[in-house]
Amino acid sequence: MSVLEGKERRIIGFLCNWCSYGGADTAGVGRFSQPTDLRIIRVPCSGRINPLFIIKALLSGADGVLVSGCHPRDCHYAEGNFYARRRLEMCKQLLPAVGIDPLRFEYTWVSASEGQRWQQVVTDFTAQIHQLPPALRFSESPDLELLRQCG
């Protein structure tokens, strides 16, 4: 069990390879201090992000999901983030249907040079998640409970 259990929340970040991942790197190189709740998964483009990544993470117990890509008009693949924007907004509007607070999910745009903006996004989003109670969990099916016991 982590020493940060109870202090940290589980936040998953999906970052595009070309802008936001670089932005996060810039923030790190610049030694901008950030909350440590976020776990980053790098994807080729925000257009690669299937809304199911977000929903699966949230249903599996993530407290928050953050998606970040290149600014509109700046996509490495020209239009990936334009499609992403529509899908992600649709996904955000579906979440309350199952009782998931839409505040648990945000998407934004951070370029590779915007280390400071990245710092702000992470800090704000982490604070937003900390204002919410921990994510609701399903009562586990007995079969998978067995897995947890031995794991």
Binding site: L59, R73, S141
Partner: protein, 325 residues
């Protein structure tokens, strides 16, 4: 439904029969309350055709199976939207389908009738119904020799009381006077949204518990066209486990809903098909409302339309992104 419309519909079906492989319509089911899909190939088959308030099935679901062959289909307003959506997605060719429309004043919800029949404190089954008849604004049902009559609007399917397109939106033949459209203000969602987020989460946890994972919701959906290649049964990628787990079952509903975003025409077949009565149509109501508010889009109205998730605007005036201070 008036006999003259039935007669004219049968006549229209007979007329196109020589040009098509078969005509999809409705026939009688296992009891007087239920109808079943009818695949008419001969004039004798046409005698068994019946439309109207008991013709609940959306036959558009069968169309992609007939790709490359010409078929006829009789449609209610909602069914026609599924056909249009399939055409717009090039899953059905316009020239391969002959569409016969008629004015629909709504169909019954068999579950509502079963609950309404209740003699004493018992809920009864549709399977006890000996006779069922719709006369104008009333439905009469005979159970155990006793006939009960209720207002049609009380046992009408929920989707019908908010139906904006009761007449086929695309048709080759239309029989009868156009029916009057109704309004949809998404009042059902407002009612649902009175529940807190936690209540909603627990609600679904409870509802999905009785899901048997038969995927009738998926297979009855005319727009779920992956059919035998659904991610729900895939091991690689491994979206769902084989465990009988509420989380996986609910996740599948969200997979279904996201895949229908900007496509769903609101025919309600997913919920009707559910053998254990889980209100899975609610998720699609959410995405349909969002598609309307964000992109001014309703599925299945224009065969030339492109789904809103397959196009974009460089500046999206309707999407309000979060502002980071």
């Amino acid at each position: 439904m008036a006999d003259d419309i039935h007669g004219a519909l049968r006549e229209a079906i007979r007329t196109i029969l020589p040009d098509v492989e078969c005509v999809l319509g409705w026939g009688s089911g296992p009891d007087p309350l239920r109808s079943a899909p009818l695949f008419m190939k001969s004039p004798e088959d046409v005698e068994r055709f019946r439309a109207g308030e008991l013709a609940v099935n959306n036959l558009a679901v069968f169309l992609p199976e007939y790709a490359g062959r010409k078929v006829g289909i009789v449609v209610k307003g909602c069914d026609s939207r599924s056909v249009v959506q399939l055409i717009s997605e090039t899953l059905v060719k316009r020239e391969e389908v002959v569409i016969i429309g008629y004015p629909c004043r709504g169909v019954v919800d068999v579950a509502k009738i079963a609950a309404a029949i209740g003699l004493g404190n018992e809920d009864l089954e549709a399977g006890l119904v000996e006779r069922a008849e719709v006369n104008g604004d009333t439905v009469s049902v005979t159970v155990r020799g006793e006939t009960k009559t209720f207002p049609f609007k009380d046992v009408m399917a929920a989707k019908c009381s908010i139906c904006r397109y009761p007449n086929a939106v695309l048709h080759d033949v239309f029989i009868g006077e156009k029916a009057e459209a109704r309004e949809d203000s998404y009042a059902d969602l407002e009612k649902y949204e009175a529940m807190s987020l936690e209540e909603r989460f627990r609600f679904w946890e409870k509802e999905m518990e009785r899901c048997i994972r038969c995927y009738a919701c998926r297979n009855a959906c005319p727009l779920c066209v992956c059919r035998d290649h659904c991610v729900a049964s895939s091991r690689e990628p491994h979206w769902l486990s084989q465990a009988d787990s509420t989380r996986d079952k609910l996740f599948f509903q969200l997979i279904h809903a996201t895949h229908l975003a900007g496509r769903c025409t609101g025919c309600g077949e997913c919920a009707r098909a559910c053998p254990v009565g889980i209100p899975v149509g609610l998720f699609k109501r959410f995405i349909n409302r969002a598609a309307g508010q964000l992109f001014g889009f309703q599925g299945g109205l224009d065969p030339e339309a492109v789904s809103p998730l397959q196009r974009f605007l460089v500046d999206e005036p309707t999407i309000k992104e979060k502002e980071w201070k």
